[in-house]
């Protein structure tokens, strides 16, 4: 996990709720966030088997509105955001002119002329700065709403049932028919009164689940209402430790581990996210990314599964016959699978699934098999 100690870490609107639940905190992207409440393994398991409740309010929220919003995002991001229909969302990258990845982010199209861009917590200031700068030549407004917006995720097989207990009956169908990577405004009827949220069927766990955007003022109330509603089906508050092991099992990259300013999207397996062919116009990073695609990557991001019990960890060298051929970016014992899993950049010669490599576990090489993520797929 990528944590930084700046000495001045911020609190989300839910900090008091986490304290009440006895959370262990960690600094993440400049925020004091719950690492876990009781046992990160139990929290992980709850998400796979029932549901978990996450505070993701450290994530950024940037509103892009105006007649040229679609055109602007086609220029500012590597994807073709103008092709996203209203109500749907798209995973994309914000790159530098050199093709380096500033952030990976999800963008929701809320109206013809309105988008919501959701960057990672630690990258939010850089994303806001880049979008603002790139907006100069367009008729759009870029508004950073991060500090006013809370984000709560309900993830796991029971999450739809939990949401339906709260969503106004007139909107049940909107929820049951909500597609993956789609979002809609819903009204929640709660014991503390009605709460309006933007409900998205997205997540970072490999399970069905929802992310709820709402103003800070109502976040604590909604958190409590959700915990209460989900109690009988096993909804458990879950921290960043479980979030990290869940996303790793699902084979999802984490900025700071798998992605950085130095990463080529083509090495990270994100080539399809870069809309070189689909977009006619220029966009930031286009020339550099065309060159990177042409050149091909020296290393590729792969999955590794351990033959033994010990786990590979971030930055451990990947070796073959004692020579270093790569580096682990994330690794942990998989709680669901019961064996060690990892992601690593390895030389393309060793990137084929089925190849056996070693990971240097603090001086002791241990065999790992190259696989294609995800490690875990829900049934």
């Amino acid at each position: 996990m990528n944590s930084t100690d700046t000495g001045v870490s911020r609190h989300t609107a839910l900090y008091g709720e986490h304290e009440k639940l006895g959370a262990f905190f960690t600094d993440f992207g400049g925020w004091q966030m719950p690492l876990k409440y009781q046992s990160e393994l139990a929290e992980h398991k709850a998400v796979r088997e029932a549901a978990g409740l996450f505070d993701l309010s450290h994530m950024g929220e940037v509103r892009v509105t105006g007649p040229q919003a679609a055109e602007f995002l086609d220029y500012a991001l590597v994807g073709k955001l103008s092709a996203v229909t209203v109500g749907r969302a798209k995973y994309s990258l914000l790159c530098t002119e050199d093709g380096g990845i500033i952030d990976d982010l999800i963008t929701y199209r809320r109206a013809e002329d309105s988008y919501l861009v959701v960057p990672n917590a630690s990258n939010a200031p850089a994303v806001v700065a880049a979008l603002t700068e790139r907006a100069a030549q367009f008729d759009v407004e870029v508004a950073d709403q991060s500090v006013d917006t809370s984000l709560i995720a309900v993830q796991g097989p029971e999450s739809e049932a939990i949401l339906l207990w709260l969503v106004d009956a007139s909107q049940h169908q909107d929820v049951t028919e909500l597609k993956y990577y789609a979002a809609t405004d819903v009204l929640l009827n709660t014991s503390v009164g009605p709460i309006d949220v933007l409900l998205a069927r997205t997540g970072y766990t490999g399970e069905d689940g929802f992310e709820l955007y709402l103003p800070n003022a109502q976040a604590a109330a909604l958190w409590t209402v959700l915990l209460d509603a989900g109690k009988e089906v096993g909804l458990t508050p879950a921290g960043l430790a479980a979030r990290d092991s869940l996303r790793l099992e699902a084979g999802m990259p984490l900025y700071g581990n798998e992605l950085s300013l130095q990463t080529s999207p083509y090495a990270a397996g994100l080539g399809p996210v870069v809309a070189l062919a689909k977009k006619e116009g220029d966009f930031v990073g286009r020339a550099a990314l065309e060159a990177k695609k042409e050149q091909g990557a020296d290393r590729k991001l792969v999955g590794l599964t351990g033959q033994g019990r010990r786990a590979a960890r971030s930055h451990y060298p990947v070796t073959v016959d004692g020579a270093t051929i790569g580096e682990v970016t994330s690794g942990a014992p998989s709680p669901t699978l019961g064996y060690p899993i990892a992601m690593a950049y390895v030389d393309v010669a060793y990137a084929e699934p089925g190849t056996t490599v070693d990971v240097d576990l603090r001086g002791k090489p241990q065999p790992f098999d190259v696989v294609k993520p995800p490690f875990y797929k829900r049934g």
Binding site: M1, G22, F24, L35, K36, S39, E40, L41, A241, S245, R309, R310, A311, R313, A332, P333, P335, R362
Partner: protein
């Protein structure tokens, strides 16, 4: 949050030492360590008959989050290893002073050890 039993003594590296145990001096890790580590998934312990030296690394404890060295709090020969925690490392989290003990040592020399009060004060426990 952490509980530090009175009858034991403690190393700076968060091991507890019980000289009242049968079959040598019994050693485990404290709740200060288990709270910091998170859920333990793998323990690598010295084998019975191995020599350990106070203050030196004698094994590893791996949690979902990280790997930590296990330091020997005493010098001597390992008498017994708790096979139950090797099979089920979660015992170290659930009962660190009881069923989650790690190994016993025929002690030839102790390393620097603290009382429960000293250890608790040092770790704000």
């Amino acid at each position: 949050m952490s509980n530090i039993p009175d009858g034991l003594r403690y190393s700076a590296e968060h091991e507890w030492v019980d000289t009242q145990a049968s079959n040598g001096t019994r050693i485990g890790i404290t709740t200060v360590a288990t709270d910091a580590l998170g859920d333990i998934v793998y323990v690598d312990l010295p084998e019975a008959g191995a020599s350990v030296t106070a203050g030196e690394v004698c094994g590893e404890i791996e949690s979902t989050k990280s790997v930590s060295d296990l330091f020997a709090p005493v010098t001597g020969t390992v008498a017994a290893v708790n096979d139950a925690v090797v099979d089920d490392p979660a015992l170290v989290n659930s009962d660190p002073y009881g069923e989650g003990w790690l190994f016993t040592v025929e002690v030839s020399e102790e390393g620097p050890l603290m009382s429960a009060a000293e250890y608790a004060e040092k770790n704000g426990a």
